[in-house]
Amino acid sequence: MSMKHQTPLLDELEKGTFPSFVKEIKRAAEHSDYAQDLLGLLELSYKEKVTHWKHGGIVGVRGYGAGVIGRYSDIPDQFPGVAHFHTVRVNQPSGFFYTTKALREICEVWDKYGSGLTNMHGSTGDIILLGTKTENLEPIFAELSSKGWDLGGSGSAVRTPSCCLGAARCEWANIDSMSITNEITQHYQDEMHRPAFPYKFKFKVAGCAVDCIASIARADMSIIGTWKGDIRIDQGEVKNYAQNGMDIQKEIVDMCPTECISWDGSEFKIDNDDCNRCMHCIAKMTKALRPGTEKGATILLGSKAPIVTGALMSWVIVPFMKMEPPYTELFELVDKIWEWWDEYGKNRERIGELIERLSFTTFLKEVGLEPQPAMVKEPRRDPFFFWSEEDIEK
């Protein structure tokens, strides 16, 4: 198919060495009217420097309140191919592993009913199928679900949980992030598909404090693998690193944030009581150092973006939780947190914002968590604290 619209500005972005999204849209445009008109619309945005999309319309698949996002062009007469251009969020498998057979199946459905354009993946983790019409939504869902795929979360619901690949190919995984993520996803299908919360709730699971999935910054509940006990040291491999040119004093000892390592050229020692498990030494000397063997997760809560009251990162609510199937302790905690959020949260209030509004101490009391120094950077600075009835001698 020849291109319907002239796109001199976009053509500029076909040049250069990095993979080009313009080439991708043009490839799809060989067989898709959606992609043809997307090119025209996008070229216009490049020329005028304004976007040409609008919200609007209530779209979805029957029974679900999530997984489909309505999208319309604001100039449909000029670009009828993208008059409707809805997004379908398909729940990715944990860890983003695929067989070619599975990917080809998705492509086939999408070539038949949609634009042929995707995002692999959205920032939440879903497979994003970009651009289809309202009347195709039910057929797409029937085709995908009959092949074993389901839609992801959107709206005031559990959002599609995601994770690093952890135990599948990483020696630092302290928890089986893929299994936990899959279990959470299956356990909370109703909460994902039928929005019932004040606002969105995201889970992200990282195998260790390197946090390749950025859970601490963008999940309402961040589950980060960690350990107790001593870092395992292979002194022979430490020497190999030294012989191969690593300046262990400068690159490891001096960069340990807790100053708990010593190295005299023959023995590498860690004062494990002082280690805060930042992962630096392990990451730099992966052959020589390995995490301790008592494994579990630190549970953190509350990250969100700056809108409206400023960005939050998640903070510790459970310093250490064993993570073994069927993950009952985790689910019980989550249910308690949601119950509290459901009771007090306002529309569009994230859990982190609610805790800020009603106070962390209220949260701890009502959810039944014991205060611990690991939950704070430092104790309070002011003397304005409260006592409850039972603290007062009558």
Binding site: F97, S123, W149
Partner: protein, 357 residues
């Protein structure tokens, strides 16, 4: 139309296990160490002695099904039909024998896939939808990423840096892509509040929902005009009201632009996770190549490259030298916009008499 298959609900995603390459299934949770062999190329070794080689290539994230099928062809020919994507939109091809690595890399380069992104380099860029798909976009995302990475591509494929540098692009302050914890991130910004088209509002918009749409409660009714008004000092140019009420356009081609924030990180390595902080409040929005923005990122990157110690991330480097020195050595202008006046402002002011000249 042909008969549709029976739909199913609440089945969740397919179980990941069926997608794992056999060597991963066998050694799941039993990995011992890994070695980086090249810019986009590493090997993981299991307790059993089994090994898996991974080759990482960049993708533009926005992929046509045709390109996905090309990837599948390569995975079928070389990787027994398995492949995976990374959290930063890269694609990883894995093989279970060293002899299979060269042919795989050749097949990938023959198809113009760019191999790299592992180690102390720039990996692929986390980004949002922009003009490709979003109504609030102040700038495009895919185009900015492309322009940036065409310029910085060497840092993906060959050159190294003191540590990883994570780049991100968000096309408006909603920042779907979580740019607020990146080493260097670009954010599309509006500089002007929405314009209220009083004549159109009457017909097009539901006033209560328009008022409710504003996250800062800046919008109030204007009964005389049967319209709304905006309290300017409260408006943070987020564009939410425009989503609900098309008669309140916020796009402003002359004033919309790009801010650069730097120094964030999410990992706990050495120092705690950090938010990114404002380096440049506004650069002009100049598609298709955004030369000013690309040049500014390069300047910050090169200053970091020459000044940081090995293993220091951008934020750790700046924390060590101090922000006052950062502005001095980059030559970036420090403006009123850099001084925080939002929720957590006070913590950012200098409550000490120590700083560098």
């Amino acid at each position: 139309m042909s008969e549709l298959p029976q739909r199913q609900t609440d089945i969740g995603p397919p179980h990941y296990e069926q997608f794992l390459p056999p060597v991963i299934q066998k050694n799941y949770g039993q990995w011992k160490y890994h070695e980086q062999l090249g810019p986009g190329h590493m090997v993981h070794v299991a307790e059993s002695g089994d090994k898996i080689w991974t080759v990482r290539v960049a993708s533009p994230r926005l992929l046509s099904t045709d390109t996905i099928k090309d990837m599948c062809d390569i995975a079928d020919a070389h990787c027994d039909g398995h492949l995976r994507f990374t959290t930063r939109n890269n694609v990883e091809f894995m093989v279970d024998a060293e002899s299979k690595v060269e042919p795989l890399m050749k097949a990938l380069t023959d198809k113009d896939f760019l191999i790299g992104g592992i180690g102390p380099r720039i990996s692929n860029v986390v980004h949002t939808q922009g003009w490709v798909h979003c109504h609030s976009a102040a700038t495009d995302a895919s185009g900015l990423v492309k322009a940036l990475m065409d310029d910085l591509g060497d840092y993906f494929t060959t050159k190294t840096l003191p540590n990883k540098v994570r780049l991100a692009v968000a096309c408006c302050v909603n920042m779907c892509g979580a740019v607020h914890c990146s080493d260097i991130a670009l954010v599309g910004v509006h500089k002007t509040p929405p314009r209220i088209e009083h004549d159109r509002i009457k017909n097009m918009c539901e006033i209560p929902s328009t008022i409710a749409s504003c996250p800062t409660s800046a919008i109030s009714p204007d009964p005389q005009k049967k319209s709304v008004k905006i309290k300017l000092e409260k408006c943070m140019y987020c564009g939410n009201c425009y989503s609900v009420c098309p008669a309140m356009p916020i796009a402003d081609p002359k004033n919309d632009g790009i801010a650069i924030v730097i120094g964030g990180k999410v990992s706990n390595l050495r120092s705690n996770p950090k938010f990114s902080k404002l380096a440049i409040p506004w650069l002009p929005n100049t598609p298709p190549r955004w030369n000013e923005t690309v040049a500014a990122v390069r300047k910050i990157l090169e200053t970091y490259e020459s000044g940081a110690r090995k293993h220091e991330r951008v934020g750790e480097w700046v924390d060590r030298i101090g922000w006052e020195k950062f502005f001095k050595i980059t030559g970036l202008e420090f403006t009123l916009q850099h001084v925080d006046d939002f929720t957590f402002a006070r913590e950012t002011w200098r409550m000490a008499a120590t700083f560098k000249w």
